[in-house]
């Protein structure tokens, strides 16, 4: 059904198929793959609230822990039991969404280059989640809790930093109580605080980070968790007995998957494996590295310090500060090149990027990309339009990270690929209309997604007049179409473009009196 471009690697293709399935089921707005971070946060909320409830009835002493959990599970199944199940299943669901989140960033090659920070900090965050789950299972103090405790002690013993033997003292009953109290403290306070800090670090280099999942997804997930909790309530193993080794364990594989390895391997080898995997994961952004283009540059002559670019930058790379030159403006902006992703979105944010300005000389704007300045964007738009020989002329803007638009070039269709369509100042669309385009067609990453996070969102808001710089009221919106497509969606994109061409041809025929359309004088902004 689709003509798939050969360059798309199989992992990415698999991911895009999954994404398509979810868009079909949930629509683009609710596609869970676009909200894996916020869904994880949502599950954390469920874990936190159910955890607080459990804490009220939980006996934090080793003697009473098991009985208190049993009491909640059986005597209070309708409340404590449900809370316990929610606590367990939401924790497991969070691991699923985190793994999907990793898979997505990997499949879409969004873990290297300027994204190294997010990936690098993500890996320990995952470990913090896993260890939080491990101490949770310890606290039930059933056979599984004992298993976790004994094997964790063995793991700790094999570290050179520890002197003495935790595992031995543990078996002798000398450490059991103290460790239990420590685990209670870690699970209830220490680890959650560490996790919050890790997540904060993880998203530190991003702006406009959403924390709440779309309501539809939150309600759906909560309902699903509730149904599961009622149908299959979480239960305990038999109570822990130091003199026994449980033969069969119902492990939670999301959290305890490493432990069975200790049956086959010495603890040092298990550490070696987990450490190597962790290091390898953390090094992935450099295996091999990905180059990020030169950072955006500020041109103070054209900047009045309005701060729109700083507001729009998806990677928090622009800051507003007091003016350093003697102009009459109060503020200016500064780009932190370390954090700049070279997305060009700030160019689209700046009102000075209006291509109707400086018609006869180089178009300078307040913030620009040195490798593809707005002046060149304007020049290439005009040149591409000038080359067209067809009857209905379409200007097609796309981006370097979605469907390849080069193959769509034709005598009727001029194409220009940008870093991101968020780079488009709305005036550029009007400018293309003015320079002979019967229609302007914009494509780019799939709706709901954006390689540079926010480009699509800002473009839509600018066109809808909800964000500066806004597409002007008088712009001919019927001659603009936005249709977004990933690399594997080229056939659909082609169809949509053909439909747009037909529509534009019809429009052209309707407005058969020449010179009445789009010829209004457009003043400098």
């Amino acid at each position: 059904m689709y003509t798939v471009s050969k360059r798309v690697n199989p992992v990415k293709r698999m991911y895009l198929l999954l994404e398509e399935w979810f868009t079909l089921s949930f629509g683009a707005d609710w596609n869970p793959l676009y909200h894996l971070g916020t869904l994880t946060f949502f599950f954390f909320w469920v874990v936190l609230i159910s955890g607080l409830y459990l804490f009220i009835f939980f006996d934090t002493s080793i003697a009473g822990a098991y009985a208190s959990v049993e009491h909640m599970t059986h005597q209070q199944w309708y409340a404590g039991g449900v809370m316990r199940s929610l606590h367990r299943y939401a924790s497991d669901a969070a691991v699923v969404t985190i793994l999907l989140h990793m898979f997505r960033e990997f499949a879409l090659d969004r873990y290297r280059g300027f994204r190294w920070w997010s990936w690098l900090t993500g890996v320990p965050t995952l470990w913090f989640v896993i260890t939080l789950g491990i101490t949770g299972y310890w606290l039930v103090w059933d056979e599984l809790g004992l298993y976790v405790a004994v094997l964790s002690s063995q793991l700790m013993d094999s570290l050179p930093v520890m002197s003495g033997s935790m595992a031995r003292d543990f078996l002798a009953g000398q450490l059991t109580d103290r460790l239990f109290t420590l685990m209670g403290f870690l699970h209830l306070l220490g680890q959650p605080i560490l996790l919050i800090f890790a997540v904060w670090l993880h998203v530190k280099r991003l702006s406009h980070v959403e924390v709440s999942a779309p309501r539809g997804l939150a309600v759906g997930s909560l309902l699903a968790l509730l149904v599961l909790s009622l149908l299959a309530p979480a239960t305990s193993h038999a109570p822990a007995e130091l003199s026994k080794v449980p033969a069969v364990l119902h492990l939670d594989w999301f959290y305890l998957n490493v432990y069975p390895l200790l049956d086959q391997w010495p603890a040092t080898r298990v550490w070696m494996l987990t450490t190597s995997v962790t290091l390898l994961l953390m090094l992935m952004p450099w295996l091999p590295p990905k180059k990020t283009g030169p950072a955006a540059e500020v041109h103070l002559d054209e900047c009045n310090g309005c701060g729109q670019c700083a507001e729009d930058c998806p990677f928090d790379a622009i800051s507003v500060q007091a003016r350093s030159d003697d102009s009459r403006w109060e503020n200016e902006v500064v780009v932190n090149p370390e954090q700049c992703a070279a997305c060009g979105i700030c160019v689209g944010s700046c009102h000075s990027s209006n291509p109707f300005r400086h018609a006869k000389k180089t178009l300078e704007t307040g913030i620009d990309m040195p490798q593809f300045p707005i002046d060149e964007v304007r020049a290439r738009t005009v040149a591409a339009l000038d080359e067209l020989s067809g009857d209905t002329r379409i200007m097609l803007f796309g981006c370097d990270n979605a469907a390849d638009i080069d193959s769509l070039r034709s005598p009727d269709v001029a194409v220009l690929s940008l870093f991101c369509t968020g780079m488009i100042p709305p005036t550029l669309v009007e400018y293309a209309h003015r320079h002979g385009a019967d229609g302007v067609f914009i494509t780019g990453c799939r709706t709901g997604d954006c390689y540079f996070r926010l480009g699509n969102r800002w473009l839509d808001q600018r066109f809808a007049g909800r964000r500066k710089p806004a597409l002007r009221q008088r712009a001919q919106r019927d001659r603009i179409r936005v249709y977004r497509a990933a690399e594997t969606d080229t056939a659909r994109l082609r169809r949509e473009l053909a439909a747009f061409q037909r529509d534009m041809a019809a429009l052209k025929q309707e407005a058969s009196v020449p010179g009445t359309r789009g010829e209004a004088e457009i003043a400098d902004a």
Partner: protein, 167 residues
Amino acid sequence: MHKILRYPLQALNYTLFMLLVWYFSAAPPYAQLQPDQAVITVAFSHAGERREECRQLSREELEKLPPNMRAPMDCPRERSPVKVQLLLDGELLLEEVARAPGLYSDLGVDIYRTAKVPAGKHTLSVQMNDNMRVEGPTYTHEQTVTLEPAQLLVVNFNSETGSFIIQ
């Protein structure tokens, strides 16, 4: 797709998601032990004997030393490795040779080893050598034990009394 049609698809997705969560939250079960197995854990700490005997220093030797270090006995700090063997019904079940840790190999060792054995009645013998200057075991102990399935039997050693405790 029409919004109404999406709801059954969403329900399907949630169901699959929850099935995944439910299944791996407690399955597949992990059998640590066969139903008729028990576990023996050897766990104790013990400091081996010194590798070399202490030696009375001669007068000449003492005079060569700075006055504040003139101890009449020279006791090298290095300790012997501790070698433990556990035999079940006469067959070797576990063997561990633990070197004395520490910068000068002068600290006690921690032994922690585990083995799975068939439940039932067994003769268990432990042999330990903690002195390089002695051939063969310096401590031995033999005991008949009856192991229930899933029982954990701990073999301990009390350095003060020099005796093994099996319980």
